[in-house]
Symmetry: C2
Subunit: 115 residues, 2 copies
C-alpha cells in the first residue's frame, strides 16, 4: 500500500509536552497498520526555537532517528547535542526532551512501540 507524502496526516501541536513553539507531526501509519505493536511511525519536524518538553514514557518506548539538523536532547536527565544520523532510544520508564536551538529545521523519524 502506498501513501503519498501529501496523503499523510499532518498535525501541528503547540507547546507539546510543555515545550516551545509548534511541532509538526506527519503520521506515516496508523496503530492498526503497526498491528497494534506500537502507536507511532512519523516524521517530527522542529523549527528553530521549537521543542518537545520533558516527559516520561510510562507504557511504551520511543525511538528517534535524527534525519536532519542538530538537536539538544535530554536523555533521562543527561543533556547532549546530536547530529544527523544519531539515534535516541527512550525505553519504558525513562524520560526525554528534544529542542532545536540551531538555525535549520530538525527532522526526526520517530517510532513508538509498546513495552
Amino acid at each position: 500500500m502506498i501513501r503519498k507524502a501529501a496523503e499523510c496526516k499532518k498535525e501541528y501541536r503547540e507547546n507539546m509536552r510543555g515545550g516551545n513553539g509548534t511541532v509538526e507531526l506527519t503520521s506515516f501509519a496508523s496503530p492498526a497498520e503497526l498491528y497494534d505493536k506500537g502507536r507511532l511511525f512519523a516524521n517530527i519536524t522542529l523549527k528553530p526555537g521549537c521543542s518537545i518538553g520533558y516527559h516520561v514514557h510510562e507504557k511504551d518506548s520511543e525511538l528517534f532517528y535524527l534525519m536532519k539538523g542538530e538537536a539538544l536532547y535530554n536523555d533521562n536527565g543527561v543533556e547532549c547535542v546530536l547530529s544527523a544520523g544519531d539515534v535516541m532510544i527512550c525505553p519504558v520508564g525513562t524520560g526525554h526532551s528534544i529542542a532545536n536551538n540551531g538555525q535549520e529545521d530538525v527532522e526526526i523519524c520517530a517510532v513508538i512501540v509498546y513495552a
Copy 2:
C-alpha cells in the same frame, strides 16, 4: 540512550532478495530494544542501479519512509515511482520490491513489526 551514527551497526548485503548490487543497512535498534514487537528499525541505502528483489512478508509487516531519492517500488504486483516523503506499507501476506533506477542514492527509513 544515545547511539551515535558511527556506533550503529552497518551491514552490506549483496543481491538482497535476488536484487541487484549492494544494499547498505544501518541498524538503529535491536529487536530487544523494540521490545520484540518488531525486528527492524533501520536506514536502507540503495545506490543507483541497486535493488531489493521481490519477496513476500509471511509473518511481519514492513513500512518504508522514503527519505531521499526516487524509487521504483513494486507494491504487491503493482509498480509505481515514488519520491521523498512517500510511504510504503507491506502488510503480512503481501510482497514488495524496491529499486533505484535514478541518479542519486535512495534512502529509506524502514520498520518491521510482527503481525
